[in-house]
Symmetry: C2
Subunit: 154 residues, 2 copies
């Protein structure tokens, strides 16, 4: 049981992160969930999930939304995620759990449209245009071609 001190909303967040770690693990990845720092001060950048397969690295912040809703993500959070991915030589994604459908969509942060204030905005249209399904993401990591490797590190 989680501590009663942890807010309910945050607890649900953990569950989604755990679910995603399990999915990556089952797909043959090494996957780790970042620390549950919650309200505490974060040390450096700690993504929600880091998944690795044979040196190919994926880092993600986990979000939930419905097809009809709009999700805003603060620019700082995306920048921190990008910095982590840059150091790791990997790719940064927003891992979006689509409530209602129960499926996951992965939006590469590099192609993410920004609002006028520089924050990021995701809605059903953005998901349809930019997001990748879990199965396709996993398949991309399975292709051990030199070309993919270069693509992922570019």
């Amino acid at each position: 049981m989680p501590s009663a001190e942890v807010p309910r909303r945050r607890v649900r967040g953990f569950q989604h992160e755990r679910e995603l770690v399990r999915k990556f693990w089952k797909a043959g990845f090494a996957a780790v969930r970042g620390p549950a720092s919650g309200a505490k001060v974060k040390v450096a950048v700690q993504p929600d999930v880091v998944a690795i397969k044979d040196g190919l690295v994926l880092v993600a912040e986990v979000k939930t939304m419905s097809r009809r809703s709009t999700l805003y993500v603060r620019r700082e959070q995306v920048e921190r995620l990008k910095e982590f991915a840059k150091r790791a030589g990997g790719r940064a994604y927003l891992a979006v759990k689509v409530i209602g459908e129960g499926s996951w969509r992965f939006v590469p942060v590099d192609t993410l449209p920004t609002t006028k204030s520089g924050n990021f905005r995701i809605d059903g249209e953005v998901l349809a245009k930019y997001a990748v399904r879990f199965e396709d993401l996993v398949r991309a990591f399975d292709t051990r071609s030199r070309r993919l490797d270069e693509y992922l590190r570019s």
Copy 2:
């Protein structure tokens, strides 16, 4: 402040893990601390620290000991760490904080001597023979030669 439900010993453990994540981050790595699952059920394998630099991956369990003491590590813990490293295409270490000296030593689990019961045993002699200093570890990750890359993934 950590929750009062978290045992004191475990809190000190977190502090060492945080310190190590900071050290790796300062050295240019992307580094993440595993979740503070404590008494809770661990999802898959969750190492204490994962540090990555340009696709080169290091996973570690964090331990503390003094030069004169002997540290025993359960075989299952080492096997889980190895499995994570294998999937990630990285290397597994026990990151030992040497109390008194205040320094870190990294023992590659592949070369770790076992007891008759198959568990692992670390003392001052093992540290002297097998352990690597933080600075040397970082330097090895800085060499971007193909040779090192192959060595680390072998």
